[in-house]
């Protein structure tokens, strides 16, 4: 936009009033906290003002339905496990605590605030994860983390005081926290997807009786990985794992919520099973992974086993061909039941 020019009788007024309007307004606007996804930085350990309230519903459901097996994870879990099929295959009632885009800190909170806090004790708690996610804290989804938390989380606060994060990460987290506190409106970031504007603009007629979300899913499927040119270097899991020796691994674990998860399970008498899912395979072989990741998974298995939990790595173990996969490492909706059946078989075989 061009600059505004013109005759000026009071240049200072003409400069300052617009500047005040533009730059003060965002600080004054406050979002409706009931709708806003809370934004907070990793590591502060505190529930920010305006965070969504603690939702005790999943814990109450556990007490009511008394599942034998509980599964915790994200979309990698709910596209893989169908509770009804699991019950048919294993003869044990199952319940999924799965929310998209959640990671280890969120799973820790589910374990602590829903499973361990429930009056009902399930037989087994499965935690589905990918690669190094169990020790990766920066992937935490703040919204989901705080939605499960009703008070200051001691485990988070303890981590915040360990030298786990680089100066750069601490600086970024501080800046993000300051901006979030000064501009409450940032909590509405992502709350207005432009797609919703298009949905309203096109009107229900365009979708031909379909839900816009379902239509968008179909559109997304056109851009499925299988339809993309593979010009880029083939995906190799673990490129970002900088774990060269056991000392690196110990440091990584010390900076994660994994020990806290194991403590919670131990204190609550829960049998914890970590399930490392198989990423999207190549045509007729298991997915590639770095030597670093292979070593890391070995140390991870030793660590959790020593603490009374179990770990199963499905890479190359489960019979799940490429045709069962949809986007990325997600299992196709039509294959979820079949995958559950195969996982049950693998589970029986391994343990």
């Amino acid at each position: 936009m061009t600059t505004t020019t013109g005759q000026t009788r009071s240049p200072r007024l003409r400069a300052w009033v617009p500047l005040l309007v533009v730059f003060v307004l965002p600080f004054l606007l406050r979002p409706d906290d009931g709708l806003a996804p809370p934004q907070a930085s990793w590591g502060d350990g505190h529930k920010p003002a305006g965070a969504a309230p603690f939702d005790p519903a999943p814990g109450l459901t556990l007490a009511r339905d008394r599942p034998v097996d509980v599964f915790i994870g994200n979309s990698m879990l709910y596209t893989r496990i169908d509770p009804a099929t699991w019950e048919r295959e294993v003869g044990a009632r199952a319940q999924l605590l799965a929310i998209s885009n959640t990671f280890a800190p969120h799973w820790y909170l589910q374990l602590k605030n829903h499973v361990a806090a429930s009056a009902h004790r399930p037989r087994t708690v499965f935690v589905f994860f990918q690669d190094q996610q169990l020790t990766e804290v920066s992937l935490a989804s703040p919204a989901a983390r705080y939605a499960l938390s009703h008070e200051v989380e001691p485990a988070f606060a303890a981590l915040a005081h360990r030298p786990c994060h680089s100066l750069r990460q601490r600086f970024d987290a501080t800046v993000e926290r300051v901006v979030g506190a000064a501009l409450p409106l940032t909590r509405r970031r992502g709350a207005y997807p432009l797609a919703h504007v298009v949905d309203a603009w096109l009107g229900p007629g365009f979708f031909d009786g379909q839900e816009p979300f379902a239509f968008r899913q179909q559109t997304n499927a056109l851009f499925d990985l299988a339809n993309l040119r593979h010009l880029v270097v083939p995906f190799e899991a673990g490129r970002e794992v900088a774990v060269e020796d056991p000392a690196d691994f110990d440091r990584l674990v010390g900076c994660s919520l994994l020990p806290a998860m194991l403590d919670v399970a131990d204190q609550a008498g829960l049998s914890l099973v970590f399930v490392r899912i198989q990423n999207r395979p190549r045509a007729h072989q298991p997915p590639a992974q770095t030597d670093n990741l292979t070593r890391y998974l070995g140390w991870l298995s030793t660590f959790v086993t020593a603490r009374g939990a179990r770990l199963i790595d499905l890479r190359g173990v489960i019979d799940a061909p490429l045709s069962m996969y949809s986007y990325g490492s997600h299992i196709d909706e039509d294959s979820t039941a079949e995958y559950t059946r195969r996982f049950a078989q693998t589970w029986r075989k391994v343990f």
């Binding site: 936009m1 400069a15 307004l25 056109l222 851009f223």
Partner: protein, 470 residues
């Protein structure tokens, strides 16, 4: 350092706070120091290249002035150093790869390149800027500078260092050499320009980048999905590059320096020549003044004039990147320009509709520019061939509706650009509409909306500025 990072905002606030407390020499020393930090933020060794280019031209320009007998040699040295740097860092890999392909095609023993050269960000911009300085001194339209500090600030001025505008010495250097003041209105305009630039980058360009990336990765896109992707890219690259320029101009204005305009609503153009008077204006003018006119321009007439256009646009294409698709893109624009020249010569103005058909002319140019963007975006020349043979009719109903939906998404995301262009068209037609106070009030409301938009609508993932790769 990227403009769209908090690092930059904190860095700029610190520089600005200190800057206005210093005398002019102190300001220039601060600008030089800040520019070094800004440029060396990720790769400190980049600063060495910048210093090499700057010092070479500082010395060469003085020698051209002081040693008239050997002035051509000094000019030659400047060109060799600057173009040599460009050649090594930008074109070496391209050259080696193509030699290997040629050897293989000729049945001779070939090789595979086992290394790659990192392209220092902004090298194409600052080498052109320093070349223009030396050439202007050689042409005696500018006197060589003796003050290294002022000159170094001209070459390295951080707001425009990595992606222009490519400033001419006779415009920028005098501003660096004199005392600067900042009026409240300048501060307001500078901040508003930055807000608008950030909005274009973070909300428009980065949100469109998601669609563009996906469409151009499709193995077999349909005709309609491909062209929606091309349309999205046309909007993305404009929002991205002009957004960068606005942030640069706004930041410079807050430092009391006026940078030249680089974009003038290019999608309102009615002819190829007009497009290049509105798009990346400083690059077009650079090629015009330092390549096209020295080659004889249009004065030479006939085939030579045609050849000049082809050479200039071919070079302009290659300036954008060391890849055949960029050369193709440049030649495509040369063809458009030449065809338009012939059209103007053959068809009388009355038959061309005069001014009455401008919406049609704008529409045709919009389409032609986007055909060019297809060549620009797809670096795989084989894929370009595939794209150009797609049939508009071969698609499933779902693919047709998906394309329509994506078109809606792109149109909604890019709509602020359209609003701005309509405003510009109104301003061009009725420059004195409304009172200054009304216009200022509307501008203020628009900027407030932009800032709120940045806060709630900015794309979740940050995308590097497209022109950083050039």
């Amino acid at each position: 350092m990227a403009f769209q990072s908090f690092d930059f905002l904190i860095f700029f606030a610190l520089v600005w706070a200190l800057y206005w407390r210093l005398p002019r020499r102190g300001q220039n020393a601060l600008l030089l120091g800040a520019s070094v930090v800004f440029y060396g933020w990720v790769h400190p060794w980049f600063v060495l290249l910048l210093a090499t280019s700057a010092l070479t031209d500082f010395v060469c320009a003085q020698r051209i002035e002081d040693d008239p007998v050997h002035r051509r040699r000094w000019l030659g040295l400047s060109l060799v150093v600057n173009l040599g740097m460009l050649g090594v860092f930008k074109y070496f890999g391209f050259f080696v790869d193509n030699v290997a392909v040629l050897l293989e095609a000729a049945g001779l023993p070939s090789f595979t390149r086992t290394f790659s050269v990192v392209l220092p960000v902004g090298i194409s911009f600052y080498t052109f800027q320093t070349i223009s300085y030396t050439v202007d001194v050689y042409r005696q339209t500018l006197r060589a500078r003796r003050d290294l500090l002022d000159y170094a600030v001209y070459v390295s001025f951080f707001p425009q260092l990595v992606a222009g505008p490519i400033e001419r010495a006779d415009r920028l250097l005098p501003q660096i050499e004199r005392d600067r003041r900042l009026s409240p209105e300048q501060a307001r305009d500078g901040l508003f320009l930055m807000v608008w630039g950030f909005f274009k980058k973070l909300v428009v360009a980065d949100n469109l980048a998601v669609t563009v990336e996906k469409v151009f990765l499709l193995e077999a896109p349909t005709f309609s999905i491909l062209w929606v992707g091309v349309f999205a890219f046309g909007m993305q690259i404009y929002a991205d590059f002009s957004g960068y320029t606005d942030i640069a101009r706004g930041a410079a204005r807050l430092l009391g320096i006026d940078l030249v305009e680089n974009f003038r609503h290019p999608y309102l153009s009615r002819s190829p020549a007009e497009f290049w008077r509105r798009w990346h204006i400083t690059l077009s003018e650079w090629f015009r003044d330092y390549v096209y006119i020295p080659l004889g321009g249009s004065r030479v007439g006939g085939a030579r004039s045609f050849a000049n256009v082809i050479v200039v646009f071919g070079l302009s294409g290659l300036w954008h990147g060391a890849s055949w698709n960029f050369l193709l893109w440049g030649l495509y624009w040369a063809a458009l320009l030449l065809l338009h020249r012939a059209w103007v010569r053959v068809v009388p103005d009355t038959l061309r509709g005069g001014g009455a058909l401008w919406p049609l002319q704008v529409g045709v140019m919009f389409v032609l520019a986007h055909v060019g963007w297809l060549l620009f975006r797809q670096t795989d020349v084989g894929m370009i061939g595939t794209y150009l043979t797609l049939s508009p009719t071969s698609q499933t109903p779902l693919e047709g509706r998906a394309a329509l939906y994506l078109l809606g998404l792109v149109a909604v995301t890019a709509s602020p650009l359209a609003v701005d262009s309509v405003r510009a068209a109104v301003d061009e037609r009725w420059p004195r509409w409304g009172s200054p106070d009304l216009r200022l009030a509307l501008h203020t409301v628009a900027m407030a909306a932009c800032l709120l938009g940045i806060i709630v609508l900015a794309a979740p993932s940050r995308v590097a500025f497209i022109y950083f790769q050039f």
